[in-house]
């Protein structure tokens, strides 16, 4: 197994008007190829910041971070990852198919290849038949699926997802979680997934990174013993509840630290 992402003593401090804010402090983490890693923690714990550092959208203040053996900047230039934002961010004047085609157009794919990929990725997210629809004609869940298709379109092996289902209701979210697991099994991608839902993190992940705020740091890394095949009912098994309990403990530990300080 090769490490897709490895972070060592990673720190990031934002300089604000009220003084420096430590968004990340001494983060050590290794993500293997094909893993599904969830980052969980209360708001302000730096989970999104960490993802943005991976994506070269933020620059770390100190420490090392390597993606596919490269710096984040070079990884970005190699189009090594697809990023799914919290909001779908589809361009309203483009159809679903054209939105998925956007990265392909920027990256200069040929027309035939483009059409093939649009079809394939829309199949993957179960949006076949919606190619000609405009974003406003889709539900929130479908919009987010279209944005996932857009991130998958150019075959990056690493998928970075920043609370992609955060704005959706529980029923839609369950459904999308199931689909996401299937997609992960089909595509064998490495996925980094930011969430603040414990069941979501436990249900999806092979590895759960529990983080705590001020300064943002990793308090616990849990390797999930759950099998790869996960029906939704797995959430009622003792194993599932045990992991969920450990995540909750980790979150609580982070909070008590904050109160002591």
């Amino acid at each position: 197994m090769t490490a897709v992402v490895s972070a060592k003593d990673l720190c990031l401090t934002f300089q604000t008007k009220d003084g420096p804010v430590e968004a990340l402090k001494d983060v050590d983490l290794a993500i293997e190829k094909g893993e599904f890693v969830s980052f969980i923690g209360p708001s302000g714990c730096g989970k999104t910041t960490f993802l943005r550092v991976l994506a070269d959208l933020e620059q770390p203040s100190s420490g090392d971070i390597i993606i596919n053996g490269e710096t984040p900047e070079n990884a970005r230039k190699d189009r090594a990852y697809g990023y799914v934002f919290q909001a779908a961010a589809l361009l309203p004047w483009r159809t679903v198919a054209d939105n998925v085609a956007l990265p392909l157009e920027i990256m200069g794919y040929a027309q035939v290849e483009k059409e093939k990929r649009i079809k394939r990725t829309l199949d993957l997210v179960n949006l076949s038949g919606f190619e000609k629809k405009f974003p406003w004609q889709l539900s929130g869940g479908m919009q987010q699926r279209a944005s996932i298709a857009r991130a998958l379109a150019f075959d990056a092996d690493l998928l970075l997802m920043d609370e992609p289902f955060g704005a959706l209701d529980e029923i839609v979210r369950d459904h999308l979680n199931e689909q996401l697991l299937k997609l992960w099994a089909d595509t064998k991608k490495t996925i980094c997934f930011v969430t603040h839902s414990i069941p979501e993190a436990v249900y999806l992940s092979t590895k759960i990174v529990v983080m705590s705020p001020r300064p943002g740091r990793v308090t616990d890394i849990i390797e999930s013993p759950l099998p790869k095949e996960r029906p939704l009912e797995i959430r009622d098994t003792p194993e599932f509840l045990e992991i969920a309990h450990r995540v909750r403990e980790g979150l609580r530990a982070g909070h008590s630290y904050e109160e002591d300080a």
């Binding site: 959208l57 934002f85 961010a89 309203p92 004047w93 159809t95 956007l102």
Partner: protein, 270 residues
């Protein structure tokens, strides 16, 4: 009774149906107002042209009936108030019936006006785009240019237009350009304001997205296209995008494209 009405509506073509359609639609009010305008116009033509017609008839020692007199007031050679049919006839004569290069051709004179307008609009658009690009790139230029741009619109340019033309003539700029400069002065302002607003409308999320694609200005014309699409203050295709526009609380839609495909876009007002 209602059955009959229903039947006639169902067949789609009956006198009753047409009348009801006229009554419910907006056609009838428009027609009524148009008729009222024409009636008033022709009535005023009689009133305003009458005194001159009376004098003409006195000179010619002609005794005319009322109907003939009205007809005369509506067809004078040089009326105080020309009637609609005289105007239409004159436009026809001055465009279609006159040679295009004749000094009496309305089309020729329309071109004289249009050429300086178009040149001015081109100047204004270029100036507006240039200023907008400077303004969005740094705060200093924004804060130093914007007040002057706004102040420029308080100058009553039309009132001092002759002075502008004479002044520019004194420095050797004559012909089409002085007139164009005046229309440029009038037209650059909305271009600047719309363009600045549009170029600023892509949100942080959209810019991040472009960054994750490594869409540098060189490799990805789209980053610019995205911003540019947002900045075109054109209202088109509103019907198709009404729903989106309404949700956004704005009705401004616009078109953009990469030559190949024209597609509609809704301008974001956040």
């Amino acid at each position: 009774m209602s059955d009959i009405a229903g039947q006639s509506a169902a067949t789609g073509f009956s006198v009753g149906g047409v009348i009801r359609r006229l009554w419910q639609g907006s056609t009838l009010p428009v027609i009524i107002v148009l008729i009222a305008i024409f009636v008033f116009w022709y009535a005023m033509a009689i009133q305003m042209n009458a005194s001159w017609q009376i004098r003409l008839n006195e000179r010619a020692k002609a005794e005319v009936s009322t109907i003939t007199f009205i007809d005369q007031t509506w067809n004078q050679k040089k009326p105080v108030l020309p009637t609609p049919h005289q105007i239409v006839g004159e436009i026809w004569n001055a465009t279609v019936m006159t040679k295009i290069d004749s000094r009496r051709s309305l089309a020729y004179h329309a071109w004289v006006t249009l050429s300086s307008t178009l040149l001015g609009f081109t100047f204004g658009t270029l100036l507006g785009i240039g200023l907008a690009i400077i303004i969005i790139h740094n705060d200093a230029s924004n804060r130093s240019l914007m007040p002057w741009i706004i102040a420029s619109q308080t100058v009553p340019i039309l009132a001092i237009a002759p002075m502008v033309v004479v002044g520019l003539g004194a420095v050797g700029i004559t012909g089409l350009v002085p007139k164009s400069l005046i229309s440029m002065y009038l037209s650059f302002f909305p271009v600047v304001v719309g363009m600045v607003k549009g170029l600023r409308s892509p949100q942080a999320l959209e810019l991040d997205l472009m960054r994750t694609y490594y869409a540098s200005p060189g490799s990805g014309v789209h980053a610019v296209a995205l911003a540019f699409c947002h900045s075109l203050p054109v209202r088109l295709d509103a019907g198709r995008h009404r729903h989106f526009a309404d949700r956004r609380g704005c009705g401004r839609t616009l078109q953009c494209g990469r030559g190949r495909s024209w597609c509609a876009a809704a301008h974001r007002v956040v």
